[in-house]
Symmetry: C2
Subunit: 212 residues, 2 copies
Amino acid sequence: MKNKTVILVEDDPDLQESIGQIIRHLPGLDLIKIIGDGLEAVKIIPDLHPDLIFMDINLPGCSGIECCSTLLAENPEILILMLTSFEDDDSVFNSLKAGATGYLIKKDLTLKLQEAVEDLLSGGSPMSPSIARRVVNSFRKPEAVSNQQLETLTIQEEKVLHLLSKGYQYREIANELFISIFTVKTHLRNIYRKLQVRSGTEAILKLFNKPS
Amino acid sequence: MKNKTVILVEDDPDLQESIGQIIRHLPGLDLIKIIGDGLEAVKIIPDLHPDLIFMDINLPGCSGIECCSTLLAENPEILILMLTSFEDDDSVFNSLKAGATGYLIKKDLTLKLQEAVEDLLSGGSPMSPSIARRVVNSFRKPEAVSNQQLETLTIQEEKVLHLLSKGYQYREIANELFISIFTVKTHLRNIYRKLQVRSGTEAILKLFNKPS
DNA sequence: AGCAAAATACTCCATTCGGCTGATTTCTTC
DNA sequence: GAAGAAATCAGCCGAATGGAGTATTTTGCT
């Protein structure tokens, strides 16, 4: 099988060297370019059509996260593995939103890089354990909302709220559930009281749990 | 170090046997109970205070996902690893929302279970590669919305939409931005046109990127 | 069987929302 | 400096929304 082409985007010369060496020693990979600047990366990478990019976050010119967005907008098939020492929520989730397929923190890089690459190429999303835990926990519904409040909603109330959260209007909810629009209103009144909100928009916020 | 106690929740007798055997052969684990029914699981597990639960989804009595919710509501520190053959989005994401810490599909169970357990216990979230990819991709913002549409919003339009997404009413947005309510309406009108939606609720859905 | 909760339905009323049309004033940008 | 985009403000209208009150039927559970 043909080797996969790899580009490393990293500005620290020491890390360029050390990570570059690691990559060069991995079987099946061709490190075709090392780039130290974000703007340069978005400029020249599209012409190099690599299979993989190993991307740092803290880059001069333009952050690695913005690079992801830009590069993937044109070449959605590129697999980007974030390789960084940041593990704050913003870095992690903005990277994933930008389209990164994996996220390794540098400290466990040496050991894991080979299997991360295999994982990437075989359809997975390699993440450092602590990152995976964060990502998974981000789905978890916090106590406060789901247990104290949402759970007091009755079956029908939940259905109504769910449809509302999909953008349905009262009339459409009524048709969907085979009840009258008045009943929908009654349910919503009770929902708003239970959730202590005053509009559908606020109720949806509680449902989606976006405290912001 | 003290062994970790494990409960297996699985209704298929064959799998009870085979998975049970695998667990018993893993070092550092004590398989203290095998349960074949969802309702029984939520009833007796709290008294057994296990460290880990390996949970099937398709159970009689009550689904493994509901079991997660219920059990974690009382004992949030339990680590639950979903062990199932389902890999549809609903199963995966509802499990994570319910609080599962890992998700393995049964076919690559034998090979991965040991390292999955180590991963779990050391703060990670083991997932089958295809599951991790799904989870990661769920963060990705679809082309259509973020690139073509959201980016065409002007500064002020984004501010208005942002406040709207926090549950503000027109009047409140106007006060917040020191503009008149008519201006807010104008911005909203342009936003709705650009996003091709017909209501604030739908606009928020696009913003939060919650398809369906 | 009987009670409590849930689900259903309706009316009245005030507010809000969204569509439509228009306008003036910056601010960029070429 | 002219063209165009962005931001501002305004009024009208009909539909949708939300609050309060009330009442009947159905369900769930003991």
